[in-house]
Symmetry: C2
Subunit: 283 residues, 2 copies
């Protein structure tokens, strides 16, 4: 396994592999890897001739007052995990190489999509995400890139960005992995106190409650979101940021649920912001 | 010579050529070709194994009230010119394929650069330029792309965009070609009435006057731009949009000229907006 931090060296590696006829699979991460990331890497290894994983805590997707400085990092452990998975390259660029002084080019989705759900609470977040993913695609030159469904809105934004800017990259979305008690895996779970960790599975339970109601025939969006809110209201020291039952492409809330529906919530448990979602197909 | 209008077909052509080890040279144009374009194509043919020329009048770089509908088009003649130059592919995408309904992804340079000179008079223009060039780079996948120095600010914006988004594309800038009387070649020259056409070379003459003054030792920016303005004031039915003597990277005007200087003007002659520039190195 090679660890590359230089941008030109990374591109040159990819160009050589592509010239040799290999398909490059790419897993962009912010590090502090958990089994969700591992599932993406394993899928990439299954489908591609060379696997590149990036570890980069991207400053442009954090807002003022967010957890950029506190974001958990453990490069040594990450490299051990990736080495065991026989990844070809771990790409670890420096922030000052990615965003040199005077940096000014941003990729922005001028669409209502990016202002909804997480976008409402994290202004500028998806501009930072779209920009760094576009940059990483140009540096790593993958044919396939892998993202986790846990970040549902990010998946939608990246798919739209890649399609609209015509990147020759196939975006693969993999299912959310969960702890045994149902909590969606996330690097941010490490922030939780023992009490918060114990309470956190209630988030997924609230989504399962919504699913059960829908399966029992309740299609009124307002009834579903109220029931989820009511269940989440039982959480101590929690701030519900949003509870959404929306069209999974437009993120618009219908009056009556139908078609592809994203049930998504964001909750601040103490100081830790957690998100989770499930997709439902309603016929 | 192949004429390709499908985006997927274009990308597939380029991927095959790249896999075969050829360097792809790309000349993006809005058509209505003149010898300036031809010089770009010839340079690309000299340096690359395959040459792709795009012809696309990009709607997103025209503002409201600008000349999108009137922009001169003559595909038949363009194809004859390019066929004679033994271009490999002419890429002629449809606007609705480049910007399908609901399109929202834009590449924007959040820097003072894009608000100066032409940017002041054409708000949003460089966002449209950066966006379409990023899209075309992803579709055509060139290693080299060729632009004309006549659009000086566009060259600066594209170089910055390509570098900052890490496109693996070498940007080549070729000198402005001129008519015998000095008028910079431009597809928009066709708009000029016979009287306007006769007066138009005065624009280049005003730049040469500035150059002569600088060579004679005048380095006060204000003296230079005043002299140019005074010379241009002699033009009938003309509106001077800007006269700039600026640092060729930052586009900032110094008090005293030094280093790499861009002398640039934009003049509306009747209804036709003409731009021209020269670069000077002041030691």
């Amino acid at each position: 396994m090679r660890v590359i931090s230089g941008i030109a060296e990374m591109t040159s590696f990819s160009q050589q592999k592509t010239a040799a006829g290999l398909v490059i699979g790419f897993v962009p991460t912010m590090g502090y890897l958990h089994p969700g990331h591992v599932s993406l890497v394993k899928q990439a290894a299954k489908e591609c001739g060379a696997v590149v994983v990036s570890i980069f805590v991207n400053p442009t997707q954090f807002g003022p007052g967010e957890d950029l400085a506190a974001y958990p990092r453990n490069l040594k452990r990450d490299l051990e995990i990736l080495d065991a998975l026989k990844v070809d390259v771990v790409f670890t660029p420096e922030a000052k190489a990615m965003y040199p002084e005077g940096y000014g080019t941003f990729v922005n989705l001028e669409t209502p999509l990016t202002g909804k759900l997480c976008g409402e609470f994290r202004p500028g977040h998806f501009k930072g995400v779209a920009t760094v993913v576009a940059k990483l695609f140009n540096i790593v030159l993958p044919q396939k890139a892998y993202f986790g469904q846990k970040d549902a809105q990010q998946c939608i934004v990246i798919k739209k960005m890649a399609a609209e800017l015509n990147f020759p990259v196939n975006i693969v979305i993999m299912p959310t992995l969960r702890e045994k008690d149902g909590l969606a895996m996330s690097s941010r779970n490490t922030y939780l106190s023992p009490e918060e960790r114990k309470a956190a599975p209630e988030i997924y339970q609230s989504l399962l409650l919504a699913k059960k109601m829908i399966e029992a025939g309740e299609l009124r969006t307002e009834k579903i979101t109220s029931a989820v809110r009511k269940k989440l209201a039982g959480l101590q020291d929690a701030e519900i940021q949003y509870v959404a039952a929306v069209n999974s492409s437009s993120l618009e809330a219908p009056v009556l649920l139908s078609g592809e529906i994203l049930l998504a919530v964001a909750v601040k448990l103490g100081k830790t912001r957690l998100i989770d979602n499930i997709l439902l197909h309603i016929t």
